[in-house]
Symmetry: C2
Subunit: 245 residues, 2 copies
């Protein structure tokens, strides 16, 4: 049986927690990478750490504050300059890519996750002496193409191309013949699908945090809280985070 090494981008929200749980259950020796952008509140990072603990994952937390300065043309990185449109869930597949698109966000996040994954795989190959045939390497990202239709970096053809680029640009891909796969288990799921999947696999949803605000409890008013509540309502499930201590 192959040794399955994986790195997941874990924010501590509903989606990435569900994806992490699926990866662990699929047999991956998984490590979590949590990025932060120098937020004032650390509620999200705390949630990611609690999720990683619940799943028994090693976690690396990294400060990528500088990325806002570079990917500046977006309402998410530059809210003073660009307005977040009302009704942030675009339904019209033919519409322009919205201003909430963050330039190269997923390319950037997966490139740094791949650097970590390649380091882990090289360690197993070169220091532990594993055979290249016995190792698999997968990057997990909880991207979703249903709720955010139209983002170019949430499409399968983008992930396929990136996986090939990572193979060509890496030592594990070119010297050892170990390709990267990019796993997007939630790509075609609705929020209700994700909730159902999370509940059936026992994902530690009580530890997750989706709210944009930094309060003690979720605000229940922001877009993220509303989207999450809609998902639980459609799945007919009570959100465990609302009753957690």
């Amino acid at each position: 049986m192959k040794r399955k090494l994986g790195v997941i981008l874990l924010s501590g929200g509903l989606d990435s927690t569900t994806a992490a749980t699926l990866a662990v259950q699929a047999g991956y020796d998984l490590i979590a990478v949590t990025v932060h952008y120098g937020q004032i509140h650390s509620r999200e990072i705390d949630a990611a750490t609690r999720v990683a603990d619940a799943l028994g994952l090693r976690q690396e937390v990294v400060d990528v504050s500088f990325f806002r300065q570079l990917a500046w043309y977006s309402a998410l990185t530059n809210p003073d300059r660009f307005e977040i449109p009302e009704g942030r869930v675009p339904e019209d597949m033919t519409a322009d890519i919205p201003i909430t698109y963050v330039p190269m966000r997923n390319t950037f996040l997966l490139s740094l996750a791949s650097a970590y994954l390649e380091s882990q795989v090289l360690n197993v190959l070169e220091l532990e002496g594993a055979s290249p045939d016995s190792v698999e390497a997968a990057l997990f990202i909880a991207a979703n193409a249903i709720d955010y239709s139209g983002y170019p970096d949430c499409r399968p053809e983008f992930y396929d191309s990136l996986a090939e680029t990572l193979r060509l640009g890496s030592k594990i891909g070119t010297q050892y013949g170990v390709p990267f796969t990019i796993e997007t288990p939630l790509l075609q799921m609705t929020k209700a699908d994700i909730v159902r999947q999370a509940m059936s696999t026992g994902a530690p949803l009580d530890r997750t945090w989706s709210c944009y605000e930094g309060g003690v409890a979720p605000c229940a008013k922001c877009d993220s809280c509303l989207l999450r509540a809609k998902g639980f309502a459609e799945a007919g499930v009570t959100d465990p985070a609302l009753t957690a201590e």
Copy 2:
């Protein structure tokens, strides 16, 4: 005539300074991105800023310290654990990729540079109202395949694949049909070729810094100083940095 927008990864060394000069002379409206890894000495960043000033470039300096933590399997990011081999310039094309390879370094650096370039291009398209047909977007990197033969992320097939990935993952590529090109003007040059190219184009070499040490003057002993000196010697030119104030 097309408006040529470019971003260059500028370290302030001989190679990236030469590449920047070539890009400016090719008519690019160029911006410099300088990354640092939390170095103790800022001599390199100072040099990059002085080069950017000499070329009239806007510069963004960003702290990517976290990258060492992720790309840990390398003698360059983790010198306590891995030894830098003597004679660091591999001549044997069939040899294994050396331990000085930094996992996904160029993928990572170009992904963050591309986020900035896409932001600049979106600004020109959406706020200044330029036609997509009138704009070109290029990333410049002073990668070299002669002195560091064997690095997978210094090969043309890697850059071609990455350019296609950036197109597929971006708003400018998919909505506006503006592709990214990745320009590697020094890829096939020897160090002597680079010195000759730099001298003939008037690159501000007096402002560059290649030494690994943080002294007032270059140490003339480290690998980087030696490689630079060899290039100048072979080109038959006196290094302007050695006589600069």
